[in-house]
Amino acid sequence: MDLFVAAFGFGLVSMSVIAIAAVGFTMQFGITNMINLAYGEVMISSAYVAYYLNRAGFTIWVGMAAGALFGAVFSFLLNRILYAPFLRKGTSHLGMVIVSLAVSLMIANLLLPIVGYFPVSYQEDPGRLIRWGSIALTRDQFIIIGIAVVLMLAIHALLTYTRLGKAMRATAANPTLARNCGIPTQRVIDAVWLITGALCGLAGVVAALDSDSFAIANGATFLITVLAAAVLGGAGQPYGAMIGAVLIGMITELSAAAWSPQYKEVVAFGILVLVMVLRPQGLLAKRGALAAAG
């Protein structure tokens, strides 16, 4: 029983990491209509930015801020330079998915000669273990949970209470109508790429910090988990992605406690497939913040 309680505590950390990444990914899709398969590579690129700063003597928290900034700028430029021209030419959804897959491969292969293939670690003392019953987490893990909670609340506030958030929701619901109503949709989309890029960059550093050591190949691993959480919650739904993150994070940890850890992701993705069979639109489709009234 103690192991399951401990696994629950670890699940809190896992779901926090996944939530930061999945909310950014799903907002990007929900508002810009772009399934960005390069998301995982932007995450890992940001993790390496933080790594090199950390190696240069900066704390990981400075690296995290730099990673978020890098992710924002990188994502913004990716859209402006690569994705937007294709979209202007009327490239289909499937075509854009292929474009983003190509971008993902290009980033990974450009990064490989710079960072190498082998795992690296941040030089960061995770702090002493804080115990609460069978749950034992480090200071850094509590900080990661805290960052996720603050960011989720901030995303909620952004979408619900700010003019930008309302403009995002309008653009997501019907971009043509939003433009006709005087909403500067291009600037809104730029803002979305900056915000979700920052979430992506931050998520990359947080995931790398949480993993203790990471390598270039982790970009693809991150993407699969993020996609799973986003799809499970309902594609394009930030609150759905949060729920998806909770489920994926918890199931992976609890199943590692219950069965052979070799199969923990198999169990998590098995449940994802089951949900998709029973509810193909995901858990929160048409009920989330970005959905059109339906």
Binding site: D2, L3, A6, A7, F10, P119, S213, N218, A257
Partner: protein, 434 residues
């Protein structure tokens, strides 16, 4: 007229298909020669491919700097198996089908050996494989060669380190933390058999998914089983796993014993960065084949390895990687077999490799390619003792040698810490069922 045209086109196609470096059957032929390095360069076991590539480059330099193989220059080509049988098959087919002058293949790790070895054997290409799988202990495949013992012996050596190693009382409770891949799982059963029959207890057997972002729950379960030692080979994920052991165990490491694959510069760096140099030096013990890292053969290897840095910057890091030394020797022996038989036909020079390695009666011992070629030209038979030491192939092309107990120094160099006595070795073998 049309029949002449068809004949002419057919003849041209036939010549084109043959390429420019066709073995003549008599003589060493012309054109470049290639050694295919077929191994994981990406994926969870991506650390293996570079170690093997680092074997090929100095071997090519050693051969090319001494006139090549009958004037034919040697180069190395990488074929990435990703450590997955499904990816390895097309890689092996591509290597066999599209590489001109393919004289040998090296690599073929446990991850992919079962699928690629038959393909390479059917193509009649001599290969030197770094697989420890028991299915190759008595293989009928004539082109397969193995210069390292089967994994079962690596596992026995780890058990020996736990029970008879220096500086500690015999460990009684072991956690088995091996990657879920084919290669790593090969250690589990022999280690379990030998350790339990000699009085130990397996506290937990934990196959882990390599490349996972974290192992918190796995580590918690492992710690809850209260082991006093961890047996491990989890390449690529060792840093993550061991850092979590230290974190969840209140900053204290548990002694851990690694397979011979953990004697690797990338593994050292990864684990050092994760748990600190002091803890790595204090708590790690490994096993390896008994290398001297000295002598004429090793000096030649080291000189050419350092010179290979212009092609592969990390090559010099592999100066004490056992598999790098052995595969280097394998390529040199193959080249010498070609010279000895004066043939570039693998069906002719392949059987000669064993003669070169084991030596025949009255054979002259040589340590370098240059000396080997000189001796052969002087009409002598030779025995090649290379950077990895003496070879003794049995009838199934397996060369066996003994293990030593090792650790690391602060720079990542291998340090011998002990040796198992013949009595200890035979007790472990008997317990393990060998």
């Amino acid at each position: 007229m049309p029949s002449r045209f068809v004949f002419a086109v057919g003849a041209v196609l036939l010549l084109a298909a043959c390429g420019g470096s066709t073995p003549t059957g008599n003589g060493l032929g012309t054109g470049a020669l290639t050694v295919g390095v077929i191994a994981p360069f990406t994926g969870a076991d991506a650390g293996l491919g570079p170690a093997y590539y680092a074997a090929c480059l100095p071997a090519a330099l050693s051969i090319n700097n001494n006139g090549g193989v009958g004037g034919r220059m040697l180069s190395c080509s990488k074929f990435d198996t990703r450590g997955e049988p499904a990816d390895a098959v097309p890689a092996a087919n591509q290597m066999v089908a599209s590489t001109s002058g393919l004289m040998a293949a090296i690599g073929c790790t446990s991850d992919e050996a079962s699928t690629v070895v038959p393909i390479i054997d059917r193509a009649h290409i001599p290969m030197f494989c770094m697989t420890g799988q028991s299915e190759f202990n008595k293989t009928p495949l004539k082109y397969f060669h193995r210069l390292v013992p089967a994994d079962v012996y690596d596992a026995y050596a780890m058990v020996g380190s736990a029970l008879f190693g220096p500086g500690h009382a015999p460990y009684k409770r072991a956690a088995l933390v091996f990657g879920g891949d084919i290669g790593s799982q090969a250690f589990v059963q022999p280690a379990t058999n030998a350790f339990t029959k000699l009085g130990g207890t397996i506290a937990i057997n934990q196959p882990i998914q390599l490349g996972a972002p974290s192992y918190r729950t796995e580590v918690q379960a492992m710690l809850a089983s209260h082991p006093d030692v961890i047996f491990t080979e989890a390449l690529g994920s060792a840093g993550t796993y061991l850092k979590e052991v230290k974190t969840q165990n209140n900053g204290q490491m548990i002694p851990f014993i690694g397979s011979s694959a953990t004697i690797d510069p990338e593994w050292f760096q990864q684990v050092r960065d994760a748990i600190s140099l002091n803890d790595l030096l204090k708590y790690y013990a490994g096993v390896d084949l008994g290398y001297t890292f000295s002598g004429a053969a090793y000096t030649e290897f080291l000189t050419n390895l350092n010179a290979s840095a212009s092609q592969f910057a990390d090559a010099p890091k592999y100066k004490q990687r056992g598999s790098t030394l052995h595969l280097y020797d394998g390529i040199i022996m193959t080249a010498l077999a070609m010279v000895a038989t004066n043939s570039s036909d693998p069906t002719v020079y392949n059987p000669k490799i064993i003669d070169i390695a084991n030596g025949t009666s009255g054979a002259m011992v040589v340590n370098t390619y240059k000396d080997g070629v000189a001796a052969l030209k002087a009409g002598k038979s030779i025995r090649f003792e290379g950077a990895g030491g003496q070879n003794n192939f049995n009838q199934w092309n397996n060369s066996q040698s003994g293990y030593i107990l090792v650790g690391y120094d602060k720079d990542g160099g291998e340090v011998t810490t002990g040796q198992l006595t013949p009595d200890q070795t035979s007790r472990i073998f008997a317990a393990g069922g060998s």
